[in-house]
């Protein structure tokens, strides 16, 4: 059965995969640059401006430098796991983008190509599953570093991600009750024809946003790598490109969660008050992708803006927030949504 797959389709998907992965990598690279620039702007500074025009080559310089830096694998640590850690982090970060609908469809060479790698009917769950695996990269790396600071970072990461996944899942359930589907593509289509989900699920979105911050290890939830407490947290012992992988995976995660949030709550590639179907599909696709990217950029800016503004939590307060505030709130949101749906369906 697998052999009967259309070869052209396979090729098309392969190209899409490559494009998506490299786009995420490129965007992640430039997100690092954006982070530095945004931080600088928010802090009355200039930010990197020496490498290339306006410092645009800065990420390339960083990447190149990391690439040619000496690899240090500490004694007494498991070499394989030490390398596996960042690789896993990178892998899981990249995997999520497979089910994201980047746009509607384009027509090329007489074929209609959907701008989604795989429209699985359990898309949301897939994202959720992959995200829940992301912590392994951190934990394995932290363990293999054989350093107490790293270990603490790994432990913090694990407990944080498990705790916030629950609230995230429950807040998603409320959303799923409204959409009635797990497929991301269908959700976008629904939002194109109706309201954006943010209108229906503001509380759910808020919880999801907070949990997304936590899952990406961004301030105020950046405990696993809290510079002032744990030096570098789980990546204290990493040098060269392995460190680069960790840093990159953080930014890819940020990018992907921005995309997911845009798709789930902000209509994905939908442009509000505008009917794309009147346009030629290719132009509509371009507009759609652009719209999605604008939303994503807004989210990434939000991530950074928050990071450079507020202090981080303490470990127990983080747990308190997750278990005692977000989960009850998410449960309440779920129940309320269910009640409202029942009331209107009667």
């Amino acid at each position: 059965m697998l052999l009967t797959v259309d070869l052209a389709l396979l090729l098309e998907k392969l190209i899409l995969v490559i494009v998506v992965v490299f786009t995420s990598l490129g965007i992640a690279m430039y997100t690092t640059f954006a982070e530095r620039k945004v931080a600088a702007i928010l802090q009355d500074r200039r930010g990197p401006n020496r490498a290339g025009p306006f410092g645009l080559l800065q990420p390339l310089a960083d990447g190149m430098k990391l690439f040619f830096k000496e690899e240090i694998i500490p004694n007494f640590s498991s070499k394989f796991l030490f390398i596996l850690g960042p690789a896993l982090a990178m892998l899981t970060a990249c995997m999520t983008s497979a089910v994201i609908p980047w746009g509607d469809k384009v027509e090329l060479f007489g074929r209609t190509i959907s701008l989604q790698i795989a429209d699985v009917n359990i898309g949301v769950l897939y994202v959720f599953g992959v995200v829940s695996l992301g912590v392994y990269g951190i934990m394995i790396g932290a363990w293999a570093s054989n350093n107490k600071f790293s270990l603490m970072g790994g432990l913090r990461a694990a407990s944080q991600i498990i705790s916030y996944e629950l609230a995230m899942g429950i807040s998603l359930i409320a959303l799923l009750m409204i959409t009635g589907t797990l497929s991301l593509k269908e959700m976008v289509v629904q939002q194109q024809h109706g309201y954006w989900n943010i209108v229906l699920q503001p509380l759910g979105f808020l919880i999801f946003l907070v949990c997304a911050f936590a899952e990406c290890n961004r301030t105020p939830f950046d405990l696993p790598e809290a510079e002032n407490e744990l030096i570098g947290g789980y990546h204290t012992e990493y040098s060269s490109m392995k460190l680069g992988f960790y840093l990159f995976s953080e930014y890819i995660n940020m990018f992907v969660s921005s995309v997911v949030m845009a798709t789930l709550f902000f209509g994905g590639y939908d442009v509000p008050w505008f009917d794309e179907s009147t346009l030629a599909p290719n132009i509509a696709a371009i507009i759609g992708v652009t719209a999605l990217m604008i939303k994503v950029v807004a989210f990434i800016f939000l991530f950074m803006w928050v990071r450079w503004t507020i202090p981080r939590f303490r470990y127990d307060q983080l747990m308190h927030l997750g278990w005692r505030i977000l989960i009850p709130l998410a449960l309440f949101n779920m129940l309320a949504t269910g009640g409202v749906i029942l009331y209107f369906n009667k």
Binding site: I41, L42, Q43, D44, R45, R46, W305, V306, T309
Partner: protein
């Protein structure tokens, strides 16, 4: 503890009200503050291209002064070396020989005058100690360098350019401030 003075004033430490307990208003307020800084004028000085003005009394790299005829002012009295808390100044005096009056202002002069810039802490005590208007701390910061031996600044490195032989450089060293007989 009882109050020790009548000036004590309790700092405000009121418990959080509901809005503050919600996290978000305060976070939002903070974010607005950071956002407003986007539109602020950036105080950054692009250093190598532009330089921040130093104060006229800035204590930088030392300079050995000459008088108008280009004679060295230093008389090798050694007060600067004594005053230097870092013991960075090394000096050897010599008697002025006849015929050297155009070189040295006083009967004695410093045959060797070295400052170890790595030791120097730019406290300005040498300038203060000098009774002969000979050593000044200029508005130039000492540049970094690659090797340790580069930092022993000898007399040639410290002397101001000769006003007669090299008037342009001399004017540069004098700077653009109106000149007047100064004290201290």
């Amino acid at each position: 503890m009882q109050a020790l003075t009548n000036k004590a004033k309790q700092v405000s430490r009121k418990p959080m009200n509901f809005m503050e307990k919600m996290y978000l208003p305060a976070i939002f307020k903070g974010m607005m503050i950071t956002f407003s800084h986007i539109f602020k004028k950036k105080p950054t000085i692009n250093y190598p291209e532009k330089q921040r003005p130093f104060s006229p009394v800035f204590r930088g790299l030392q300079i050995l002064n000459r008088d108008e005829e280009g004679r060295e002012n230093c008389t090798a009295c050694g007060l600067c070396a004594v005053a230097c808390p870092a013991e960075a100044i090394t000096m050897e005096g010599a008697e002025r020989l006849p015929g050297e009056e155009h070189l040295y202002k006083e009967e004695k002069y410093a045959a060797k005058y070295e400052i170890n810039m790595l030791r120097c802490i730019f406290c300005g005590l040498c300038e203060e100690a000098c009774p002969k208007d000979a050593i000044y701390l200029s508005e130039t910061f000492t540049p970094a360098d690659y090797q340790r031996k580069q930092f022993i600044y000898s007399k040639n490195d410290l002397l101001i350019p000769h006003p007669k032989e090299n008037p342009e450089e001399y004017q540069k060293a004098l700077g653009n401030r109106p000149q007047k007989a100064t004290s201290n």
